[in-house]
């Protein structure tokens, strides 16, 4: 992490604002004193203290900094689709203080060398914490085990196979068994490749009408079932990445009841958009997993609300413009989403689909617990904070977006929620408008 | 506010003029073609008065108008119908009103895509002047000059009547 305006020896007092920690409790008008990268004092003590700098958070919410379990920083890579500096800055703007870097880089993060490359890049240019996720299989090919223990020792907080599948159930079972040996969490996106085949959109009403190749619901649910059974058998800590089907949430709840060690996340855009977003062939919404039906969307939101789904992720996957400038099926999937996550979430809160506490939990304590990070605002904790004004709005556009990717889910229209300050380990990671 | 012109009087004049012209030129079996929609009504009546038994043709000039690049295509175009071969025939082309002359130009362009007629006689019920092209009727029922607020409207087919309207504008 690179330093910014505030050096770690300076002290900062944040006054006003409503404090909402990730576990649901809200307190008004607290003052926070930050010193040496930690929360030095709260409440009356903090109010009374002297500090070198003050930040007035009147009208704002103060939450733990958001934690993203699935973010593509695109470095190492060819630079066209983004890099660590640009994408972590974008994340900081979005209120994130920790991002888990997907192993799907070029070259893939399946070796200590690449892990160190990512860490060095982050140390030099990232204002926030970057935690690499290591590749579960060599080259993410889904055939041979990677050096899991080595990757973990180098600093990978979990292992995953990115957007790619594992060749067959036999290999998957072995990956899980091996990871379990070292107590490593395995992050997997459930998709049965042969059922998904050449599909690129949800097999349903919109694909029927527009003649798009569909990915049936069963491509995900069959895979979820398989992964849950294998996790149960191997005892590995399984994390299901980016669920898209309501049925998957049911299976997840059932697995929990049986005591299987499984957590899960959902991308924010899956909570907000459905297959209808493709009605005009808008290639921004060519996504993997695809946006599904309204019934699925509602079930995913309920899953977050009830805590069955632990975390909301950005699934940030930035591209250069050309990747989206083609007939829909020829475009690359992905949204440049990280700067809009909070705003889209606040939209759900406004419509009464989620409470603010549930939203914050999904962005902070939920994901943090999956990877064993603390995420609370209390004395002596690391000062990872997000201060945002829910009443202000901003308009995403190619001028205002920081990410290299300009294909954000909403463009040219005002969205609620502006991050005023992002503090990562007490240092200002974002202090924009 | 509107006033009616006497259609029968206009038809008398048209009939007399046409009889004279046909005689003068020695045309024995002319065929009538009316331009939609008003010209068709007029052609029907004139045909009966002149005792022309051959069924008359109907021309829709939508595809030959010169204002396509300004207003696009008329969505209510209907097929033209000429139940005879125009090649070598003497045609009486009939319209209710002539003003700029563009409709007649379009009609003649279209007619020539059917074949080469021996001759064309142009008959219009009303001549409003205000020409933009050098095209004149051979026979007209009446010449009229309209004021800025005035419009002429043919109503029909039965009974056929012409309204002179004062518009509020």
């Amino acid at each position: 992490m690179s330093g910014n305006t505030l050096s770690s020896s300076a002290s900062l007092k944040i006054t006003g604002g409503r404090l909402l920690d990730g576990h649901g409790s809200e307190t008004p008008n607290r003052a926070l004193l930050i010193r040496n990268g930690r929360i030095a004092a709260t409440g009356a003590t903090a109010e009374a203290a002297d500090a070198e700098q003050t930040f007035d958070a009147k009208g704002c919410m103060i939450t733990p900094g958001f934690v993203d379990l699935y973010c593509n920083l695109r470095e190492p890579g060819n630079g066209q689709k983004g890099n660590i500096v640009s994408e972590t800055r974008a994340a900081a703007r979005g209120g994130f203080t920790t991002v888990c870097a997907s192993p799907e880089t070029s070259p893939v993060n399946d070796s200590r060398a690449v892990t160190h490359l990512i860490q060095d890049g982050a140390d030099a240019g990232s204002p926030i914490r970057v935690l690499p996720v290591g590749a579960l299989t060599r080259g993410l090919e889904g055939e041979m085990l990677s050096d899991m223990a080595g990757l973990a020792a180098a600093g990978c907080i979990a292992l995953g196979n990115g957007s790619r599948g594992v060749r067959n159930a036999r290999v998957l079972r072995r990956c899980m068994a091996y990871a379990q040996t070292f107590g490593l969490t395995v992050m997997l996106r459930p998709e049965n490749q042969s059922l998904a085949a050449d599909g690129y959109a949800h097999d349903g009403l919109v694909t029927a009408r527009l003649g798009l190749l569909g990915i049936p619901e069963v491509a995900e649910t069959a895979s979820v079932m398989e992964m849950l059974l294998l996790a149960e058998e191997t005892g590995v800590k399984l994390h299901l990445s980016q669920l898209s089907c309501g049925r998957s949430v049911e299976m997840l709840a059932d697995a929990r009841r049986r005591g299987i060690s499984v957590t899960a996340d959902v991308a924010m855009h899956q909570l907000v958009f459905t297959e209808d977003a493709l009605s005009g062939f808008d290639s921004r919404f060519h996504l993997r997993p695809p946006l599904r039906s309204e019934a699925d969307r509602k079930a995913l939101v309920a899953g977050v609300r009830e805590g069955v789904i632990d975390a909301i992720v950005s699934q940030h996957l930035p591209h250069e413009s050309a990747a989206k400038q083609a007939p829909l099926p020829d475009t690359e999937p992905g949204l440049s989403s990280i700067e809009s996550v909070l705003s889209l979430g606040l939209g759900l809160v406004k419509r009464g689909e989620l409470s603010l506490a549930e939203l914050v939990r999904g962005l902070t304590s939920g994901p943090a617990s999956v990877i064993g990070l603390p995420a609370s605002i209390s004395q002596d904790e690391i000062a990872d904070l997000c201060v945002f004004d829910p009443g202000a709005d901003w308009t995403p556009s190619s001028q205002s977006l920081i990410s290299v990717g300009h294909h954000a889910p909403v463009l040219g229209q005002p969205l609620p929620g502006v991050v005023r300050l992002t503090l990562a380990e007490g240092r200002e990671a974002w202090g924009g408008a | 506010m509107s006033a009616l012109l006497d259609v029968d009087q206009l038809m008398d004049k048209l009939e007399a003029g046409l009889r004279g012209l046909l005689n003068e030129r020695g045309i024995e079996s002319p065929v009538l073609i009316g331009i939609r929609t008003g010209g068709v009504w007029v052609a029907d009546i004139i045909g009966k008065r002149l005792g022309i038994e051959e069924p008359f043709g109907e021309l829709d000039i939508s595809f030959y108008r010169d204002d396509f690049s300004r207003i696009g295509l008329n969505p209510k175009v209907t097929p033209s119908s000429l139940p005879f071969d125009t090649e070598g025939r003497d045609i009486i082309l009939v319209d209710d009103v002539i003003m700029s002359g563009r409709t007649i130009r379009a009609a003649m362009n279209e007619l020539f895509d059917y074949g080469r007629p021996a001759s064309i006689i142009l008959a219009t019920l009303i001549d409003l002047g205000a020409r933009e092209l050098p095209i004149q009727p051979d026979v007209a029922g009446q010449s009229l000059t309209l004021g800025m607020q005035q419009r002429v409207k043919l109503r029909g087919p039965d009974p056929l009547r012409i309204e002179l309207q004062e518009t509020e504008q």
């Binding site: 029927a208 009408r209 003649g211 977003a277 062939f281 921004r284 | 595809f63 207003i71 175009v77 097929p79």
Partner: protein
């Protein structure tokens, strides 16, 4: 929450509801579809004259942009454009630039330099004409000649014209479409057209593997048993079966398909005695349809060409008309603003 994506109508129609691109039959409505059929009637009459041309597109350039080869469709579009007095350029893209890796966007930029007024596009990907319509300079009309599995609007409209010619109208009509609906852009467009024009019953007859998952949401009922499906039918449309379907584990064999879903004389006898038989072509004799039926008295398969040219002349002139009218309207508004000193 829906995304701010352009709906098909926003792209296809001018502010006053005139056609400006012809991409899909979705959202055009009964009146506009009827206008297209009526306009086509006038063009059929033009085709019966000695000079089969009208000057509507004189001085304009129409480019046939075919990314998927098709001699038949392309030649009817070419003929239609020429009968509208347009200059025609044929580009078979699959043999040139894009096969060398040039992106569609770049291909379009290069083509625009040629100052074309209209692109007729056939492409293997659903949504390609939409993409082109959104990327191209304003004023250029895009006509969809078939995109992926999505739509083949001119084919569906010429089929509707054929039906109207034989049946007078669509009220009370019972229509079935038989065969590979899943992969068929023609079927999707036909189902939409029949719904908009008011057909009473639209049945799709096929095995489950050849039907999209939510096919009924398109506005039709499913019948797996062809004998039941043929009952009282006024129109039966047979779709072409491609050989690849066997390889994709969608069908066991051509023989079984023919036995269950092929249109034989026996099956046709189950329909209304005046049922007409249609097929968008090219036909696979002995696979979808018995030769005797294809050549028989109830078959109207050969009427296609005349109707095809007329429909294409209609949509090309209507779309070009919409583009120029829109442009003129914008110029008028601009000069009005100028006059008022506001521009």
């Amino acid at each position: 929450m829906t995304a701010n994506a352009a709906s098909p109508n926003h792209l296809q129609l001018t502010r006053d509801g005139q056609l400006r691109h012809f991409l899909t039959l979705d959202g055009l409505g009964r009146e506009l579809l009827t206008d297209i059929l009526d306009t086509a009637d006038s063009f059929i009459e033009v085709g019966e004259r000695s000079i089969k041309k009208v000057p509507l597109l004189r001085g304009r350039t129409v480019v046939n942009l075919f990314f998927e080869a098709s001699t038949r469709t392309r030649s009817t579009f070419e003929l239609a454009a020429k009968r509208l007095s347009a200059d025609v350029l044929n580009l078979d893209i699959n043999t040139s630039a894009t096969s060398k890796g040039e992106s569609l966007s770049d291909t379009l930029l290069n083509l625009e330099a040629m100052a074309s007024d209209m692109f007729v596009v056939r492409h293997a990907q659903s949504g390609a004409p939409h993409f082109i319509a959104q990327s191209v300079t304003p004023g250029v009309a895009i006509i969809n000649a078939g995109d992926g599995r999505h739509a083949h609007p001119t084919q569906a409209m010429l089929d509707m014209l054929t039906i109207r010619q034989h049946k007078g109208g669509f009220e009370g009509l019972k229509v079935a479409i038989v065969g590979d609906i899943l992969h068929s852009r023609v079927a999707r467009s036909q189902i939409r057209a029949l719904n908009e024009l008011g057909a009473e019953q639209i049945r799709v007859i096929a095995p489950g593997t050849l039907l999209p998952r939510d096919v009924e949401s398109l506005g039709c009922t499913v019948e797996y048993d062809m004998a039941r499906g043929m009952k009282d039918l006024d129109v039966v449309i047979m779709l072409r079966l491609q050989k690849e379907r066997m390889e994709g584990a969608l069908l066991p064999s051509e023989r079984e398909f023919y036995r269950l879903y092929g249109l034989s004389q026996d099956k046709l006898a189950l329909a209304h005695p005046e049922c007409i038989v249609m097929h968008p072509g090219p036909i696979n004799r002995g696979v979808e349809i018995e030769s005797a039926v294809a050549d028989g008295p109830q078959s109207v398969i050969l009427n296609q060409v005349t109707n095809g040219i007329a429909i294409r002349m209609a949509v090309m002139s209507m779309a070009m008309g919409g583009q120029v009218a829109e442009r003129q309207q914008k110029l008028n508004e601009l000069s009005e603003l100028n006059e008022r000193g506001l521009a």
